[in-house]
Symmetry: C2
Subunit: 180 residues, 2 copies
């Protein structure tokens, strides 16, 4: 008998024939578990296509994120980019440095504040970003088509609701005015 350590095994959650009163709570719990699963599988496959391309260039998701957000906001400062990504300076540096050395991104000193380094994609950087973009476009567009326009609107509302304060502010800044 292989049991020198008799651990308590948790009971499996019930899946049917519930006491009437708990029904609503149970549904909410299942709803949540469903959401966890959806987000795990969905996000993974959303990024999978771009990850594949990146792997072949000894880059990773972090590089893609920089390309994406710099492309979205040309002239963004390093500080603002850090705020969007919510990573440390060092983590960004390790990704941004090679991107600049390899000619995907350039920085130019700010005119108003010369301490700032304004980031922008080169043509080469924009081309790579576009390649990654097109790959994800296929995935997302198919999901949008299958789901329909109303579903897309719902998807947006829920995803936005998942964000915290800080992310929502960054998000609104990105989607909002071209530049302050």
């Amino acid at each position: 008998m292989p049991a020198p350590r008799q651990a308590q095994i948790a009971e499996a959650p019930e899946r049917s024939t519930l006491p009437a009163g708990r029904n609503l709570l149970f549904l909410r719990e299942e709803e949540l578990r469903l959401a966890q699963d959806l987000l795990f599988f969905g996000y993974r496959d959303f990024t999978a296509g771009a990850d594949e391309i990146l792997a072949g260039m000894s880059m990773g998701r972090a590089h893609h994120r920089v390309l994406h957000f710099v492309g979205r906001r040309p002239g963004i400062t390093v500080g603002d980019l850090l705020g969007i990504l919510a990573i440390t300076k060092q983590s960004l540096g390790r990704v941004l440095q090679p991107l600049m050395e390899d000619g995907y991104v350039v920085q130019t000193p700010g005119r108003a504040d010369r301490r700032q380094r304004l980031l922008a994609l080169t043509d080469k950087g924009a081309a790579l970003e576009r390649r990654l973009f097109e790959r994800q476009r296929e995935t997302v567009m198919q999901a949008y088509r299958e789901a329909g326009p109303a579903a897309v609107e719902g998807f947006r509302r829920v995803m936005r609701g998942l964000m915290g304060e800080q992310a929502r502010a960054a998000f609104d800044m990105l989607e909002g005015p071209p530049a302050p």
Copy 2:
């Protein structure tokens, strides 16, 4: 003039006053960029709460995923779990091993096939999983409430659409019948 290397700077994408014919294409492009942003920010904050708890226990997201899926399918085999997570045996081992040593997960030999190791949460494991679950529940439930039931349905449809073949099969198995 600090320009020994004159890189081409890509033009910023236009944001208004488009040639009429390209309008639709432009909207689709913006739609996609919006989706990318939503998924990045949304997923990050969805996992942030649980990540915080895990960090305090020298665990990471990978541990959470194991607890989640084992909790969802008690008695799951190692092979099936590998299929769901889509990682290598070695990667799973490095996470599963400590979880078993620390008494969060137990394995029992399969009755039909004694090569199999059937995984289950201990009470301790179920308690931790619940703690993580409750944390994410707050985030998701608030997003659901804000967005409304119709939006939730749309969210589900789109997330499911993002999945590839393999993920969709795993997903359907999870949400489907209690056990084969």
